[in-house]
């Protein structure tokens, strides 16, 4: 976290932070429901189901990074996998939405598992 002094020298726009985190968490919640449907269809059980969610969750975030963050961020001279142009911390970008989407994932997972397995 930047110190108070660093924030005075280079301030942060709160409206942009809100917009970016809202976009990212919307994406992660929505894709989590879709992954739940896929896991239910494939008939995944306990550990493999959660593993499926975490792998695909990270995959969705990587996809979001390559499509939305990377073009302008790399052009502005940031390093690879540096999200500091649009998000405050890397940890927040990669793992923030994972536990938010978990509820939606389990919901659609159990729904489709019950539907498909008759």
């Amino acid at each position: 976290m930047p110190t108070e002094r660093e924030l005075q020298i280079s301030p942060i726009v709160p409206e942009s932070v809100m917009h970016n985190t809202k976009t990212l968490s919307n994406l992660q919640t929505l894709t989590a429901s879709i992954f739940g449907a896929a896991a239910g269809i494939l008939g995944l059980e306990s550990y493999s189901g959660f593993l499926f969610y975490f792998i695909f969750g990270v995959l969705a975030t990587v996809l979001f990074y390559t499509i939305r963050v990377a073009p302008t961020s790399l052009k502005a001279g940031h390093g690879l996998f540096d999200t500091s142009r649009y998000f405050r911390t890397q940890y927040e970008f990669w793992t923030g939405g994972l536990f938010n989407g978990l509820a939606g994932y389990i919901l659609t997972w159990t729904l489709f598992y019950g539907l498909v397995r008759a």
Binding site: I12, S16, I34, I41, R68, R85, V116
Partner: protein
């Protein structure tokens, strides 16, 4: 640009629905076979047998397509450092904050010092002269 993402998502949803129905049919067939077999013999099928490989592939492909479609449909991110954001507003104005259908985004604030800069004692008269000259020229 939004039609690409909508099209991709719709196509992925179609594939997912197709694989869902195929998996349901497969499972219904399995239980039907097991029920008719158990009336003849005492052996039972395993409660969950493996799905055919093509349904699995179709599910994974549909998931990835939907994911791609949704990511393509997200709006542009805005820079969070104040100087980068303010520079972007000064250089590109409204054109840098268009959403996917080409209109200016609803919560676009614009120049944060707009009110300060329009005070009579702080007006940039040379810039306004230049703008007026260009407007006259373009007429």
């Amino acid at each position: 640009m939004t039609w690409i993402s909508n099209l991709t998502t719709a196509f992925g949803l179609l594939l997912l629905a197709d694989s869902c129905y195929s998996a349901y049919e497969h499972s219904a067939l399995q239980t039907h076979r097991a029920a008719s077999l158990s009336s003849l013999a005492a052996s039972h099928n395993a409660p969950t047998s493996t799905l055919p490989i093509d349904i699995t592939i179709e599910t994974i492909f549909a998931t990835l397509t939907i994911c791609l479609g949704i990511v393509l449909g997200t709006s542009n991110l805005r820079p969070i450092q104040w100087r980068v954001w303010a520079g972007k507003i000064e250089r590109e104005g409204e054109a840098g904050f268009l959403n996917s259908s080409g209109e200016v985004e609803k919560d676009y604030i614009g120049n944060p010092f707009r009110l300060l800069e329009s005070r009579p004692g702080f007006v940039d008269i040379r810039k306004q002269r230049k703008e007026f000259a260009e407007w006259v020229k373009n007429k």
